[in-house]
Symmetry: C2
Subunit: 473 residues, 2 copies
């Protein structure tokens, strides 16, 4: 039985740390070119997490209040007090939202291992660009025309045939809605399903941004452990009985971050549990076609007959990620609510993007591209595994997806490693960000898909070397 | 002193009506090919608004439960009871959201006067299509690359120069964020500013979807009358003092739906009030360049020095609306919160759309196009005004924008006119949808920009003829 993670209030801690530091500078306690306390020290003094201090320091640096000297720390800038506009603005109350993953990803680094995205060089860019120019001839008014809120009908028809061919899903175009990426889909579903005090089941670990979205809605998270064998269904049933969660957000195929895949038998049983306890299964499935051995089992949605699964299929991620096209399969009555949520959110995904995606999707080149991409990703994965093995580290060996879930040697704290790596232009995702309980402090998520082979090898050598220094020191 | 509209709970009324009718059909009280009660009758029986019944009937019709015979009403289909999946699904609790404007717009009609959009035939489609093909050569990896969350830097730089040239705004690229249309901007701002019990000022009448967004956030609406002279600032100050609203959502230039423009003097004074009462002004400005006489005064944002105005500039509406590109100008610290909200919402607007917009925006053709469009819209407006004048109706004569705000003769109820018009494939926006107090029952919003000149004239003749029948009968 796992404990509920509870509704930790979205905290203004980072802002407090920011203002704490600024205040000392303004009062003249910390003067120009003084060295700020180390992240570790200030975190201990203020009883906050090191990541919080890191974020405050980075923000101070972005606003020119402090500057960084390579590898030695943060220093007070020679600048003046903040401008009046900043001061007045800073007093405005507003709801603070958090997205630590996005904060990390927004910092430009040389060795980018925090983004589960595909290296643009692995995509057939030239072919794609030439090919899609035809879209403008096929749909001459595409730049001036809005899509329907639910999404272009031609695209939804094509996709409903695709889902039928791939998974024998009986799915009408009316049961599909097009969103701008999986992220928007999760956000819209949270909008119709979650309010203050509602419970939501999430895997432990899970995709951190989904948790940020659910917390912003005021929901309380209850975690379900995911292992190489999937879930403990007895436990899941107990949680459903006890908490009556409105939904279970899951990523059961090449799971992010662990790479685990929930076995077929559990898929059928869990759909039955969902029906019995009226708990909607929200199946996020972005990595399905990125398998290295066997094809993964069919989605949960394939076993659902009663409308208790919403299926988020963001396969544009490895087709043309820049388009931000995601298809969501969903039955009545949820669909009509999703359409209203979409209408409030952005009134429909741009038609141009949908038509381009449709056009490329139906090209003979697509399957060929996906096959090649699989091989390229496997090469990336093997490079990463070689480097980790050389350092004597452990990780889960995924059958697909874009990430390794790495276990650090006991002697190394991931927060410290993270701060050191960011200072040396290497990013990854600290494990605790992915943990609804915030306890996984010796894990990290390494995405091997975005950096080039060369950068991947080089960056991981540096990363493990830094970790070695920390372990010794 | 206006009363607060209050947080009317988002009502499940339409669902209740839907199920009331379905229930009678299932129990066999209303049998196949029976005529349903008229919208007026059922509305009276259930003590709900006619629009609610209209919506329930339309939904029943969409699901094949009833069918429509032209001009004579709704009839029970020969179909069976709903499928098990539908029944099970229908019991799921979920938060209901409303967007009556989108519901109206989603119904395909021959005479489309409910959409404040521009007729795609008035856009330079062929030029645009040819021109933007170059974007793929300029940015060969554009299909495979994500935008930064805040928006493409090249675009933000260009736009910051644009705002400087147009309005002498001192605005750095860091003070701009790109969103997918103004709708998303409003939604993101609501996300950071509004929670349960917060007050928000809105104009009366106003853009209905903004109210739907604020209500979904749990906020309470307080209305500020807008007149040809702008606002009553004494009243606005009193409302700010009394309710301490977190923000004032406004559309002060060619206001939707009235067409009014708030004078310069009030702009300066209101920015001072906003500073004094710490009430953020959210300035929605989609129609600025669509003026027929004088250029409108500068935006509120131009008078703001303390960061109390967020400026939503969705000028892509008349450039290339299909791209869904909107620029939001906003100072620190709101900007960083908006970026986080955007990261949770969709992680960034597609890069392709931003690059295409940028490319066309800098083309010499643009200003020429906008000039032509202004003339075309004025012709549309004059046609609409001729037809209304012929029927002896009153309306506000706008100096710009895409709408007429029409006053119906006392003898005609707009809800009845609306139901009759929709049955004859003519759509418009009933005034009460635009009214935070829901009382403007003899007003309607007519958008003259979307239908062709011919359809506009023809449709308005039919509309006024139907109204004439209602007045007599």
């Amino acid at each position: 039985m796992k404990k509920a993670a509870g509704t930790e209030q979205v905290s203004p801690l980072f802002r407090q740390v920011y203002e704490f530091v600024l205040n000392r500078m303004e009062r003249g306690e910390w003067k120009a070119h003084d060295k700020l306390p180390s992240i570790r020290l200030l975190a201990e003094e203020l009883k906050v997490h090191r990541l919080t201090v890191f974020k405050a320091y980075r923000e101070l640096s972005d606003h020119g209040k402090v500057y960084v000297k390579d590898k030695s720390g943060y220093y007070v800038s020679a600048g003046s007090r903040p401008a009046a506009a900043v001061e007045a603005g800073a007093e405005v109350p507003s709801y603070s939202l958090t997205n630590p993953l996005s904060d990390i990803q927004r910092t430009p680094v040389k060795y980018q291992f925090s983004q589960a995205l595909i290296d643009p060089n692995l995509l057939p860019n030239l072919f794609l660009s030439d090919y899609v120019k035809k879209v403008f001839d096929l749909y001459p008014k595409v730049m001036g025309t809005y899509s329907s809120v639910q999404g272009d009908e031609e695209l939804r028809e094509t996709l409903s045939r695709h889902f039928h061919e791939q998974h024998r899903l009986q799915l009408s175009p009316q049961e599909l809605i097009i969103t701008s990426g999986a992220q928007q889909a999760i956000n819209l579903i949270a909008g119709i399903m979650l309010g203050p005090m509602d419970y939501v089941l999430v895997e432990r670990p899970t995709y951190s941004v989904a948790m940020d979205i659910f917390r912003r809605a005021g929901a309380r998270l209850v975690s379900v452990e995911i292992t190489p064998d999937g879930y403990d269904l007895t436990e899941v049933e107990e949680l459903m009985r006890k908490f009556k969660p409105r939904m279970f957000y899951m990523n059961p195929t090449h799971h992010n971050p662990t790479g685990y895949t929930v076995p077929v038998r559990q898929r059928k049983l869990l759909v039955e549990l969902a029906e019995r306890y009226r708990c909607l299964l929200v199946e996020d499935d972005p990595f399905r076609d990125m398998y290295f051995g066997e094809k993964p089992p069919p989605p949960f949605f394939a076993y659902d007959t009663e409308g208790w699964v919403i299926y988020i299929s963001s396969f544009s991620k490895y087709v043309a990620p820049g388009l931000r096209i995601c298809a969501v399969a969903c039955r009545y009555p949820f669909m009509e609510r999703l359409i209203t949520a979409k209408s409030l959110s952005d009134n429909g995904t741009p038609l141009l993007n949908q038509k381009i995606f449709l056009h490329y999707y139906t090209s003979p080149r697509l399957q060929q591209h996906i096959g090649k991409l699989r091989i390229a990703l496997q090469v990336h994965k093997e490079i990463a595994e070689e480097e980790l093995a050389a350092a004597g580290w452990e990780w889960t060996a995924p059958q697909g997806g874009l990430n390794l879930w790495v276990k650090l040697p006991e002697s190394i704290a991931v927060a410290e490693l993270f701060a050191r790596c960011m200072a040396e232009s290497i990013s990854f995702v600290p494990g605790e960000i992915c943990d609804p309980l915030g306890e996984m402090t010796n894990r990290l998520r390494l995405s091997y898909s975005f950096a080039s082979e060369e950068k991947l090898r080089e960056g991981l050598r540096r990363l493990t070397a830094i970790a070695g220094e920390l372990a010794r020191g």
